[in-house]
């Protein structure tokens, strides 16, 4: 994201340009103010601006009984999903780099399949499927459905990250390893993988943002995460608009912190690897979510 390429789009402005900019700035502010006025007017019409509908968001009852348990459930699912998807990604990422055609073929099919299927479809499948196996108590079924769905999809994306990370290393790294007498798999383990993992850390952290966001899909399969608890709180007290807004704010704050960490890692790690540490601005296919 070189800001250089953007600043050349326009020169340092002269008097006329500065005047135009000022006018546009004022127009922009007026537009935003007008929009806010319309929204606030509509809110007021429906009685959504009453103080208690908003102050209730900041009471101990709301946080102790709804927001905090919801955040905890969200983090619990996201945390386990992160660990499992990294393991899944390592296994199939290495599988795709294998020397054996059959291992490579199977891994490719697995990775491409799980990247193409929507996470929600997998979650619904596990939600209704796990219950029939009787492996987990019914109350835990939504949790495992969320974790497994996230693991398969994000694991497949991480497998792709590992593969492209290894491929993006300079060719000389592998050749140098072979020249000093290492085998292909030694080169992979001792030279390529450590550098590829370092290089992909920022993209990996960005993927954790995706995992955290997607735990909200658990709402649809009755997992009591943040969005679901916000809805319960809001529908009880008739201020669902406000509670959902608060849930969104919590998500934005956590994710923004993670995104900033990814950017910092990217500049910090760029000295430690021959690979590119820049997180993919264009996320790997389907990694957008």
């Amino acid at each position: 994201m070189s800001s250089k390429a953007q600043n050349v789009l326009f020169d340092v402005q002269g008097p006329r340009g500065r005047l135009l900019t000022l006018i546009f700035n004022i127009v922009g502010v007026l537009l935003v103010a007008a929009l806010a006025w319309v929204v606030l007017g509509k809110l007021a019409d429906q009685g959504q601006l009453q103080a208690e509908k908003w102050t209730q968001l900041f009471t101990a009852r709301s946080w102790n009984n709804f927001f905090l348990p919801g955040i905890l459930q969200t983090l619990r699912a996201a945390g386990l999903a992160v660990v499992l998807s990294v393991i899944f990604g390592l296994i199939f990422g290495l599988g795709r780099l294998s020397q054996l055609t059959i291992v490579r073929g199977v891994s490719t099919v697995v990775v491409e399949f799980f990247r193409a299927v929507p996470v929600l479809v997998m979650m619904i499948f596990f939600y209704l499927g796990i219950g029939r196996t009787g492996l987990v108590p019914p109350s835990e079924t939504p949790f495992w459905a969320v974790v497994l769905g996230l693991m398969l999809y994000n694991g497949a994306v991480i497998a792709e990250l590992i593969r492209s990370g290894v491929h993006s290393l300079p060719r000389g790294q592998r050749e140098a390893g072979l020249v000093v007498g290492m085998t292909e798999s030694q080169v992979l383990r001792a030279i390529l993988l450590p550098q590829a993992l370092t290089a992909m850390l920022p993209s990996l952290v960005s993927q954790f943002v995706v995992i955290l966001k997607d735990t909200a899909l658990g709402y649809i399969i009755t997992y009591p995460e943040l969005l679901a608890s916000a809805r319960r709180l809001g529908s009880g007290d008739g201020n669902i608009l406000q509670t959902l807004l608060m849930a969104a704010v919590v998500f934005v704050v956590i994710n923004f912190a993670l995104t900033s960490l990814a950017q910092w890692l990217s500049s910090f790690l760029s000295y430690r690897t021959a690979g590119r540490t820049k997180p993919t601005t264009a996320p790997a296919p389907a990694a957008v979510k």
Binding site: L120, Y219, R231, S235, L241, F251, N255, T259, A286
Partner: protein, 228 residues
């Protein structure tokens, strides 16, 4: 074994799988147009010389990109529709469909914006400098020189966004739209014994939609690549 398939086949008579997939495709189509328009405007704002526009664009992208799509859709349906009572259509189902399209467009516009911006970064500095040197201002140089090249450079990330959008249309289930994931749920609840076959049908349906889009994107990004 053959009775398993007969059981499974009989499901197709009660549940219109193709109709449900068609809803997803329609959602994708309209939301893609909406997010493309909004995303292009946002990208233009983010590279413009006007500071307030840049902040507005950056703020939009940073907030929307970090919010789960599910929250946006639930917010539109439970907050905007149910609490503020804004109707988008007198038809009950059409109303939810339109809300889902709006939610999907709002969410993916942030990713379209970033895709186009990454495309702008593929345009060499010399192109912009040359445009300025012959006296083009911001909008003319953006319209005539930068964006035509940037859009071609952005085909791959835009294609990825389109694929993500296609898969994310299933989240419209949270906005009470009867699309394929909602239909799959009722199919499995109705006939839990053929759950694997139902899941594979839906999954393969998505593979069949997503893989051609991916191939088309790869082909288009090569075909329209700017030779430098």
């Amino acid at each position: 074994m053959s009775s398993y398939f007969a059981d499974f086949a009989s499901l197709f008579e009660q549940f219109d799988v193709f109709q449900a997939f068609w809803v997803n495709i329609q959602l994708t189509f309209f939301a893609a147009i909406g997010s493309m328009l909004l995303g292009t405007v946002l990208a233009l704002m983010r590279v413009s010389p006007i500071a307030s526009m840049r902040w507005l664009g950056a703020g939009y992208v940073n907030i929307i990109r970090n919010t789960p799509l599910t929250i946006i859709l639930v917010f539109l349906v439970l907050g905007v529709w149910s609490q503020l009572q804004i109707n988008l259509s007198s038809d009950f189902n059409q109303n939810f469909f339109r809300y889902a399209v709006i939610g999907l467009a709002i969410y993916h516009a942030a990713f379209v914006c970033e895709a186009i911006r990454s495309g702008v970064n593929t345009v060499p500095v010399g192109q912009a400098e040359a445009a300025r040197a012959i006296g083009l201002g911001f909008l003319p140089s953006a319209r005539l020189i930068i964006f035509p090249q940037a859009l071609r450079g952005a085909i791959t990330p835009l294609g990825n966004t389109l694929i993500a959008l296609t898969k994310n249309t299933t989240v419209a289930a949270a906005a009470s739209v009867t699309e394929i994931s909602a239909l799959m749920k009722s199919m499995i609840e109705f006939r839990p014994d053929v759950i694997i076959a139902v899941f594979l049908t839906v999954a393969i349906g998505f593979v069949l939609i997503v893989v051609p889009v991916g191939l088309l994107t790869t082909w288009a990004s090569r075909k329209f690549a700017v030779v430098r």
